[in-house]
Symmetry: C2
Subunit: 230 residues, 2 copies
């Protein structure tokens, strides 16, 4: 087995563990000796893979993915850089930070003249008007999307009408004027859209909703006429 494939297999096995796994078990899973496993772990850690191992406990991998060597064209790198700038202006601070870090990782391994060129990239993203409440709401809503739990909030509609809502969040839409949450609304018993800047008193519940968000997403995309992307 090529070493690179073994590395990916190692990481994949680690990724699937719910608790620490011993070196002996991991080596058996991959089909190598314990001595070779120690060597492999050492190489991976040297590559920046966040594997933690403690005597008497075993190995744990922090969430993440090792991408194998990939070839990108200059235009593709440029598109990724511009994309990171868009995320940086339009999203919450956590996603912004993630975009910055991802781009920094790519820049760090590019040839010097190319990363210099990207620093002088002539494509900028203008500032987006988003108040602090909305910026604070975005990570909460993203968390609800990820964990598929109910969200509650009070909503001021277009006409100024005030209402309390309990919803199953489906998606966030980033529009030119506003960020919008698409959700299944229990009050209206149908899919509704809510401008995030008109939400207040956002509450994340710990109750998981059914059906799965994936199902609701499919429904929403059909209803909105949104084609399946990538």
């Amino acid at each position: 087995m090529p070493l690179a494939n073994r590395n990916l297999l190692l990481i994949d096995v680690l990724r699937r563990q719910r608790r620490p796994i011993t070196g002996r078990a991991l080596a058996a899973e991959v089909g190598i000796s314990i001595r070779t496993l120690y060597r492999d772990i050492r190489v991976l850690v040297g590559q920046g893979v966040p594997i933690e191992g403690e005597a008497g406990i075993g190995y744990v991998l922090r969430p993440g993915f090792l991408l194998p060597p990939l070839m990108f064209t200059p235009d593709e790198i440029e598109a990724l850089a511009l994309g990171a700038r868009f995320v940086g202006e339009h999203s919450d601070s956590r996603l912004t930070e993630s975009a910055r870090q991802a781009l920094a990782k790519i820049l760090a391994v590019l040839p010097q003249d190319t990363s210099d060129h990207l620093r002088d990239l002539g494509l900028f993203v203008g500032p987006v008007t988003m108040d602090a409440t909305e910026a604070a709401a975005l990570p909460t809503i993203r968390e609800a999307l990820r964990t598929e739990v109910f969200l509650s909030f009070s909503y001021t509609g277009r006409t100024g009408r005030f209402s309390e809502r309990r919803v199953k969040p489906i998606a966030i839409g980033f529009f030119q004027q506003a960020r919008v949450l698409a959700a299944w609304c229990e009050t209206r018993d149908d899919i509704r859209h809510f401008r995030i800047d008109r939400m207040a008193g956002l509450l994340l519940s710990n109750q998981r909703y059914r059906p799965a968000r994936r199902r609701l997403l499919h429904l929403w995309k059909q209803k909105e006429g949104i084609p399946d992307q990538h």
Copy 2:
């Protein structure tokens, strides 16, 4: 020398050639035998590196970069994916296609459950109003930025005032309402901003301007109070 480092060096040497380079010269540059070079080329081509070799001519590398194995967190992958969606909605078809291809390359090597998860990513970018003229202008302007040549166009200002302009393009700003070109204007002898949707008769010259765009960019950023990014 580790094989991965040698591969990167090989690509770097190839990248710097202006015309085809023979295998013999390339091998000498890297410090390996011709037989080993043939083996390395074979491995790189197998990894998708676009190296072309023809008997009697030599080797040519199509523009691009081989990124070594990189570790990304789930949030970083999510940020890259959202960024690609932003570029897809806000930019010209060429940059859009590059964003799509870059993301597809990343998705292709992620574990299946993760690329599935990204397909169901609940972050969408709403459509942006951009007419066909503007969409057609963007690649031209990007080309002018890249090659640092003059641009000519007729411009209809805010008040309806019509004027002919010859400019040194500095940067494109993607705002919520419009795409804006920041450029040194020869008519006004200063930096000016032009909404791209108000430009007509765009003409790309083949005359290179001085000072270098990098210098103008620095000036513009100072003037606009834009901090150095990433």
